[in-house]
């Protein structure tokens, strides 16, 4: 049966600041003066004009001893060494792949940074170069780690561990990079039977947990069997929960996603995206997170 719901638009109401925040955040817009004290060093997102420190992006001011910088809230991904990213291959070039990671420039995955099947360690030959397209084609998704940053700001990625590599069946959700919390690990196996990769660049990959950990796969053999219906329901529900958290601007990490999933269980999967249900679920999640902290 067809279900069509139409509604009149409702003006968005500003959500009040959450009580847990200790000090009030100093929010600035481009052009706002941060301080007139000349003793501070200027960091990212600021510039000096007539002895005043002025913000160049819209965000929150962060002060570490004498360093003042402005962390932008909505920005392209600025990579740092050691970050986990999920990217999509856009080009296959000589000895490297160009990967789109929601940053200002496409990231680069060198052929020498890619692990060969079977975990071989050898110098890449001309045959490997010709067979590049057999490994990764345009449109493929990969999980990788940032190895270094080039001088122009482009990231150099590597997939030198068995946990990185080409991604198989699943769902990709694109969010703003500032909403992904930095944690020790970004690969999570949730108790509901589904795994999630929270890329620092805002690409979130949800996929069914593989039954056994393939030793030699290294991400090259993709499982093309149909995913079971129960796993699909969990994946769809999780995807809608993540979209709900992002709409209400909550930080994404494994606990917040799990709490949101549990709060959404009484509702139908497709109802989660309705504004009222979204607010209710996120409110409950926020409450549980506050209880966890305090």
């Amino acid at each position: 049966m067809a279900a069509i719901s139409m509604r009149l638009p409702v003006a968005r109401k500003a959500v009040g600041p959450s009580a847990s925040r200790g000090a009030e955040k100093h929010l600035v817009a481009p052009g706002d003066t941060i301080t007139t004290d000349t003793g501070y060093m200027r960091g990212h997102g600021t510039y000096i004009d007539e002895e005043k420190l002025i913000a160049s992006v819209a965000g929150a001011v962060e002060r570490v001893n004498k360093l003042v910088c402005v962390k932008a809230l909505k920005t392209r991904y600025n990579g740092e060494v050691g970050d986990i990213v999920v990217g999509r291959v856009t080009e296959v070039q000589q000895k490297r792949w160009k990967v789109e990671t929601n940053s200002r420039l496409d990231s680069v995955l060198l052929l020498s940074s890619m692990n060969l099947p079977g975990g071989e360690l050898r110098r890449r030959s001309a045959e490997d170069e010709l067979a590049m397209r057999d490994y990764l084609q345009e449109g493929d998704l990969i999980s990788a780690e940032v190895q270094s940053v080039f001088s122009d700001g482009a990231l150099s990625l590597h997939t030198r561990s068995l946990k990185y590599g080409k991604l198989g069946q699943g769902v990709l959700v694109q969010v703003s990079p500032s909403l992904v919390k930095r944690q020790k690990t970004h690969f999570h196996d949730l108790p509901c039977g589904v795994s999630v990769i929270l890329g620092n660049n805002g690409f979130i990959w949800i996929y069914p947990t593989p039954e056994q950990k393939d030793e030699e796969a290294g991400g090259f053999t993709t499982n093309l069997e149909p995913v079971s219906l129960s796993d699909r329901e969990v994946i769809s529900r999780l995807r809608n929960c993540i979209v709900a958290l992002v709409t209400q601007k909550l930080m994404l990490f494994d606990t917040s996603i799990l709490y949101c999933y549990e709060a959404s269980l009484p509702h139908q999967i497709k109802d989660i995206l309705q504004p009222e249900v979204m607010e209710e679920i996120v409110l409950e999640t926020r409450q549980r997170l506050l209880d966890l902290e305090g």
Binding site: A2, M6, L8, A11, T222, L229, E233, R239, K270
Partner: protein, 291 residues
């Protein structure tokens, strides 16, 4: 058309999901995304509407101007459609990139409204062979999130419902020359009857089944789609097949039946929301673009 690139396993996941009637966002094959409709958003038009269907955002403005009737239909007014794909939607539409898509959509709208009973064109006539009302319907694509045609047709119907054409009187002079007088009261206007205005339903074939209201990702997995325009009574006014894949007659028949069923529910839901908005009257809080 704005499109996303997907990897083969992702496409496979979507196709298998559709087979089991569970799409990526939990919808069934015949469910629409949540739609937001608002009319009277642009002040200097005779009627306007804005529709948000998921990530697809459409703005339609209707301007009523006086013109001469067409030679073959001297006692009727007519509608002119123009579609502008703004570069806001995707960078591909920059400059003249959006022209091709715009003309395709405009031609589809002409076809959909070509049926005689869609809009009562005789009510738009002022003086046969001399003056008539021409309704210029301008469609602006603000964001492309899949399923453009459906959203545009919903917005056009809502805008036509909202259109207010001023009442005019024809005065005859002694010499026989006619003068047109506009009434002084700005609220003295005629409204159009939109009961028979059709809405487009796009059915995309994915694997062995078809879905309604496809997102950009689902459109990338579908090789062929059927666009049908349905009136509120369930009558089909036009049909068009798009896409490079083929459809066999059995599936076309099934898709038509689904389209008629879904189209009727679409009209009921849309009329309900338009009546609700109308009943709020002047107390309605306009949200517009900054809400």
């Amino acid at each position: 058309m704005a499109s996303v690139v997907l990897s083969e396993p992702e496409k496979l996941y979507i196709v298998h999901g559709v087979q089991e009637d569970l799409r990526v966002d939990g919808r069934g094959c015949e469910d629409y995304r949540c739609a937001e409709v608002e009319t009277d958003v642009v002040s200097n038009t005779s009627g306007s509407a804005r529709v948000k269907l998921g990530h697809t955002d459409i703005l339609v403005g209707v301007k009523a101007e006086m013109g001469t009737p067409k030679l073959e239909k001297p006692d009727e007014g007519y509608l002119e459609f123009f579609v502008d794909c703004s570069a806001n939607a995707t960078p591909e539409f920059e400059g003249r990139g959006g022209e091709e898509l715009g003309t395709e959509i405009a031609n589809t709208l002409y076809r959909v409204f070509s049926s005689e009973n869609s809009v009562d064109l005789k009510s738009l006539c002022i003086n046969p062979r001399e003056h008539c009302w021409v309704l210029y319907v301008d469609v602006l694509l603000l964001e492309c999130g899949g399923n453009l045609f459906d959203a545009i047709s919903i917005a056009v119907k809502a805008a036509l419902f909202n259109t207010r054409i001023p009442k005019v009187r024809v005065l005859e002079d002694e010499e026989g020359s006619k003068e047109i007088e506009l009434s002084d009261d700005p609220y003295d206007c005629i409204r159009l009857n939109v009961d028979d205005v059709p809405c487009i339903v796009t059915l995309s074939k994915i694997g062995y089944r078809h879905v309604v209201d496809a997102t950009l990702q689902e459109e990338a997995c579908s090789l062929a789609s059927l666009l049908i325009s349905v009136t509120s009574k369930g009558a089909l006014t036009s049909m068009k097949k798009v896409g490079k894949g083929s459809l066999d007659p059995e599936s076309i028949f099934e898709m038509m039946e689904t389209g008629k069923r879904v189209g009727k529910s679409l009209h009921i839901a849309l009329q309900k929301i338009l009546d609700e908005e109308e009943s709020l009257g002047t107390s309605r809080q306009k949200v517009g673009f900054l809400g």
